[in-house]
């Protein structure tokens, strides 16, 4: 889809192609934080608006993919501060359980998902961020490190600690 607004943009920026290539990835990144499709789509839209606002300075961007992911990540975090995550998590857990389980066990499964999401939110911030980004298979350790501004070894260590801490807390809660 060709856009007439691209006429005054630099010729290297093909917005339609960029939207096609990255919208799903950016949606998943925003959704991992917000757990809401509507909110995540709004974030993706905001990312591309930022892209247009900075189109004159895009030549300074070394890695467009990481740059877009970082914008989506930060916008999602910013939006989440203004929302009540409990409500979003409840809806997300119910929809996830009903999509994968029969109706008689879906409610119990939804409660388990909710407790996992609650414990994820209680994790230290760095561990939580690494855990959520590593859930997306499109992102490797190198990209996660670039988005979060940490070294790859630090990302691996944080991920290991996050999973261990989460597992331990869930077991304690169950016991």
């Amino acid at each position: 889809m060709a856009l007439s607004l691209m006429e005054d943009a630099p010729p290297a920026l093909d917005l339609a192609a960029i939207v096609d290539a990255y919208s799903t990835l950016l949606f998943r990144i925003a959704n991992s934080v917000l757990r809401s499709r509507t909110e995540a789509e709004d974030v993706v839209q905001d990312v591309f608006i930022r892209l247009l606002e900075h189109r004159r300075s895009l030549s300074a961007v070394r890695d467009m993919r990481v740059w877009l992911i970082r914008i989506a990540w930060n916008l999602a975090l910013d939006r989440k501060r203004r929302k009540r995550p409990e409500q979003l998590d409840e809806t997300f857990a119910q929809s996830l359980a009903s999509a994968t389980m029969p109706a008689d066990t879906a409610m119990e499964e939804a409660q388990r998902y909710q407790s996992v999401l609650r414990e994820i939110e209680r994790l230290p911030r760095a561990e939580r961020h690494v855990l959520l980004l590593s859930a997306l298979e499109e992102l490797g350790t190198t990209e996660i490190a670039a988005v979060l501004g940490r070294s790859e070894s630090a990302v691996r260590a944080l991920l290991s600690r996050a999973r261990a801490r989460l597992r331990e807390r869930l077991e304690k809660e169950k016991a």
Partner: protein, 196 residues
């Protein structure tokens, strides 16, 4: 342990496999295009009568006119006349000399520094003075006549006080004339005849 791990994996897989609503690319491009179109229109063109309700235009016009009138009124109110180069005098009550004489305890002198003159030469009177019933004038200095009267009243000399009373003065003059006649035993007419 395995159950918790399994639940975590399923949840993360749910986040990983989340799919946006179909047509997200189309919606995003349309939203961006609409935003760019609005941003490219100048601000004043967006305020055309077609885009604004009529009552909003009238309301804005009325507000603007009101603001202009208020500004003019305030300007007239605060403007200083051109010939008013001196500080304005405050209206004071005239004090009679008798009041000034009998006044034992003069009113405290008002400090000139208590009044601040603004750049428009309007006196800024402190709040306590504004709340006062009036502005009593400071005691005026006595004139020369008043000082003379004060001296006469305090000396109580009969001849001096008679000056103030014509009847008493005439009586005193007649008495002095009688004493003169008795002393010399003749009247003034006979003395003149003898001299001629």
């Amino acid at each position: 342990m395995r159950d918790a791990e399994h639940t975590i994996e399923r949840l993360l897989a749910g986040l990983r496999n989340a799919e946006p609503q179909p047509g997200i690319e189309h919606r995003i491009l349309e939203a961006i295009q609409a935003r760019e179109t609005v941003a490219s229109v100048p601000f004043w063109n967006r305020l055309r009568p077609q885009t604004l309700p009529a009552f909003a235009i009238w309301l804005a016009s009325a507000l603007a006119i009101t603001c202009v009138f208020v500004a003019i009124a305030l300007h007239q109110h605060w403007r200083v006349p051109a010939d008013n180069s001196h500080p304005p005098t405050l209206a004071v009550r005239q004090v009679t000399p008798a009041e000034s004489i009998t006044q034992k305890t003069p009113a405290p002198a008002r400090r000139p520094a208590s009044r601040v003159w603004s750049k428009h030469s309007r006196p800024v009177i402190p709040a306590p003075e504004l709340r006062a019933a009036s502005f009593p004038a400071p005691p005026l200095p006595l004139t020369e006549q008043e000082k003379l009267l004060l001296r006469l009243a305090h000396r109580r000399n009969p001849e001096d006080t008679a000056i103030l009373n014509p009847a008493a003065q005439a009586a005193q003059s007649a008495k002095a004339n009688d004493q003169f006649q008795q002393f010399f035993g003749m009247n003034a007419t006979e003395m003149r005849n003898q001299i001629e």
